[in-house]
């Protein structure tokens, strides 16, 4: 059970890093006139995070649906993510 929790923490951390990166690229143009976040940037980031979490949830549901449907989906996903070396049990 601890393995699952550690894994989930690792994945949430990774997701957070990707979210930060994506919203920074979307909302903060690389022209820094002042050190503080502007109002428009702040609102954009607010909405960007909400949308990213929405996207994450929707894609998660779709993946779960596909994995239930396709028996060897995990093998392909594991092969695609691990370079083809992971073998299913």
């Amino acid at each position: 059970m601890k393995l699952v929790q550690d894994l989930e923490i690792e994945m949430m951390t990774d997701m957070y890093a990707r979210l930060t990166n994506a919203c920074h690229k979307k909302c903060v143009p690389p022209k820094y006139r002042e050190p503080d976040l502007q109002k428009g940037e702040s609102v954009c980031i607010d909405r960007c995070v909400a949308k990213y979490l929405d996207v994450h949830e929707k894609i998660g549901k779709k993946l779960t649906e596909i994995s239930m449907r396709d028996q060897d989906f995990q093998q392909r996903v594991g092969a695609g993510g691990g370079g083809g070396l992971a073998t299913p049990s």
Partner: protein, 114 residues
């Protein structure tokens, strides 16, 4: 005037229920690959499909794009897996039907290019 906080559904779950929970070390690697792919798809499809930050909720067009993007990415992963496995197999068998870009391994008798 404060902007409204981002809309959040009361039962939002940001991680999907995996088909099988890892119970030993071997399955942890598979589970980790699944989650890495999941995070990669989320980031890539978000960057590609979401452009309107005038509203905190997804537009219908963005949702349709996300569905297609997810399916495309998975099919691409499958295709890459197939071709990669074939290439590796050919390489191990001595490069008999290997694609031109594959370097022949040391000790192979034939170096003919298909």
């Amino acid at each position: 005037m404060e902007e409204s906080s981002p809309s959040s559904s009361p039962n939002r779950s940001t991680t999907p229920t995996p088909p099988t929970l890892p119970v030993n070390e071997d399955q942890v690697a598979t589970f980790r690959s699944f989650f890495q792919t999941y995070n990669r798809i989320s980031e890539y499809c978000f960057r590609t499909c979401v452009w309107d930050f005038g509203t905190p909720s997804l537009r219908a067009r963005e949702e349709r794009c996300l569905n297609r993007c997810t399916s495309h990415y998975l099919q691409m992963t499958k295709e890459i897996g197939h071709v990669f496995a074939e290439g590796q197999t050919n390489l191990m068998l001595g490069g008999a039907a290997a694609p031109p870009v594959v370097e022949p391994v040391l000790g192979s008798e034939t170096t003919s290019v298909a």
